[in-house]
């Protein structure tokens, strides 16, 4: 759409300031663009006008300057002349542009930005209930989903600076390139707000690395899924909950970001329960688990800093975990006693006789964290102590030991084996302020042959 040369004013009929300056516009010979007709509304939308009147100076087809509302000085600068508008006050604020009116904004976005969306349009008939129609098409994880209309997807894409056609990752199991647009559509389904989208994109990217191995995490008969830990300023910016009921329901960002990732794997990657997903039991967290670390209340440096990122960066860390379970210790007031409690519980991850096969993610609650803070124990010191406490005698691990057939071959008898491979235990801090509890997510087949925790920075 071409811009008229010279002075251009965008106005609307029901704006008193627009009516006030009308004689001035005639006096200046300005080109008047009215938001009350379709062409004018389109031009206003394309110019990004938020307030009317907006006065612009256009030279050689390019906008050089603009001012909003009526201000004699501002208008004189744009018009490069003076002495007009005799009798008008010195200034008068403008009104909101029609392009921002409720309903109109979405309609204009679809009309003028809709072509940026490449996905197939699916039209439900008037006899179809859209919620039922989406279940019927297999787009849902079993819970209701939000209909991904063009307007909603465009609003979602407003949450990122990335081009809708950028490829975020190649998603297993079908190995399909997932664009920002497809991720945004699934984020709408999941119930995300636009500002969550960069976190969703980072989670999708992290999940689809060879290290994290989303294919295996999906395909396994074990009850694991991606657990997303969020760090950095984005946690507060999008209103995540790192406190009371951190791993539970009730916070929109916590509840929908992990779900968006799982819907991407389902809908884009083609990974569905009973298809490539062969979990014997699964766990309720496979709908999606995402939580932020409580960095502010932590006795330690933020988890992402410990993993080598800047404190000012925002990150997601993906861990292949099963459902969380509690660790109760209400009596330990010194770190050695509490570390021993942790070790006793961590030994049981997946099976007390199986060492080095499974990682774990330990979520230390604030009241337990306080014990380590007051004693001056760093995260590293806690990990070193846990490693020492979790050196397991091979005699207890061999098949048949303790009257249990499960275990390691007889060759490990007499040896000592650590419960966790080096780096296989991760520690974060989160939870409500009352309760001498922590929580552990047991992991899946660890290391290069299974899944390794992956951290990715959240972009814009």
């Amino acid at each position: 759409m071409e811009l008229p040369e010279g002075l251009v004013a965008v106005v609307k009929a029901d704006c008193p300031t627009c009516r006030l300056v009308r004689p001035v516009l005639d006096e200046l010979g300005a080109h008047v663009v009215s938001e009350d007709d379709d062409d004018g509304l389109e031009l206003s939308y394309r110019l990004g006008v938020e307030t009317v009147p907006t006065l612009l100076r256009v030279r050689d087809g390019k906008e050089e300057q603009r001012t909003v509302g009526w201000s004699r000085r501002g208008w004189e600068a744009i018009a490069e002349t003076a002495g007009f508008g005799a009798g008008l006050p010195e200034s008068r604020p403008g009104c909101g542009s029609r392009t921002l009116d409720p309903g109109v904004a979405d309609e204009l976005a679809v009309r003028f930005q809709g072509h940026r969306l490449r996905s197939r349009r699916v039209e439900f008939s008037i006899l179809e209930d859209e919620a039922e129609a989406m279940y019927d098409r297999g787009w849902s994880d079993g819970l209701p989903v939000v209909a991904p209309t063009e307007a909603r997807v465009l609003r979602m894409l407003g949450g990122t600076a990335r081009d809708p056609q950028d490829v975020v990752a190649v998603v297993p199991p079908d190995l399909v390139p997932c664009t920002v647009e497809k991720a945004a559509i699934n984020a709408v389904l999941a119930g995300c707000r636009p500002e969550y989208l960069p976190v969703v994109l980072a989670a999708v990217e992290a999940a689809c690395t060879d290290e994290f191995n989303a294919h295996g995490v999906l395909a396994t008969t074990m009850p694991v899924g991606p657990v997303v830990v969020v760090n950095g300023p984005v946690r507060r910016r999008i209103g995540m909950n790192s406190g009371v009921n951190v791993l539970g329901q009730g916070n929109r960002a916590n509840s929908t970001i992990g779900r968006a990732l799982q819907l991407v794997i389902r809908n884009v990657g083609g990974g569905r329960p009973g298809g490539v997903d062969r979990a014997a039991h699964g766990n309720p967290g496979k709908v999606g688990v995402c939580f932020p670390e409580d960095e502010e209340g932590s006795p330690w440096e933020p988890f992402h800093v410990w993993r080598g990122f800047d404190a000012g960066a925002s990150t997601v860390t993906l861990f292949a975990g099963e459902g969380p379970r509690g660790i109760v210790d209400q009596l330990s007031r010194d770190p050695e006693s509490l570390a021993r409690s942790f070790a006793a519980c961590l030994r049981t991850v997946q099976h007390p006789k199986l060492p080095m096969i499974f990682d774990a993610l330990l979520v230390v609650g604030p009241e337990h964290g306080r014990v380590f803070r007051e004693a001056g124990w760093s995260r590293t010191r806690l990990l070193e102590r846990l490693d020492a406490l979790l050196q397991l005698p091979g005699d207890e691990l061999v098949r048949g030991a303790g009257g249990i057939a499960e275990g390691l071959p007889p060759s490990v008898a007499g040896a000592t084996l650590p419960k966790f491979r080096p780096g296989g235990l991760l520690v974060v801090h989160a939870g409500g302020g009352a309760g001498l509890f922590s929580t552990v997510f047991a992991g899946w087949a660890s290391g290069p042959t299974g899944s390794q925790p992956v951290t990715r920075e959240v972009g814009t």
Binding site: L117, S119, R120, R121, V122, E123, F124, E130, M134, W139, A147, P148, T149, E150, V153, P172, P173, D174, V176, E181, K182, I185, N186, L189, D210, N213, H215, G216, A219, T220, T221, L263, N267, V268, G269, G270, A445, P448, T449, G450, S451
Partner: protein, 90 residues
């Protein structure tokens, strides 16, 4: 209501299966070990039985059971074998 398709919009490629051979004698059968513990014990027995029926057997292995077979392994199997038995035990 008009919505955007959240799926990959892909139609799976369909290829016709190779005709089932009347007998295995003289054919090469590929056996892929997915690298689960003791999978080799099971495949050793399968190999023994197949050889008893006059089939040649070639053995392959995935580096890890948690990831899809690398493309090189799939290519080798498709070019070196007449028959593939696809199965998974856990």
């Amino acid at each position: 209501m008009k919505v955007l398709d959240p799926t990959s919009e892909r139609a799976p490629a369909e290829r016709a299966r190779v005709a089932r051979p009347p007998a295995l004698a003289g054919l090469t059968v590929g056996l892929l070990d997915i690298s689960k513990p003791r999978g080799n014990v099971f495949l050793d027995r399968v190999e023994e039985l197949l050889r008893g029926r006059g089939a040649a057997v070639r053995r392959y292995a995935k580096p890890t059971f948690t990831k899809p077979a690398p493309i090189d392994v799939r290519h080798e199997i498709s070019t070196q074998c007449d028959v593939v038995i696809e199965a998974l035990a856990d």
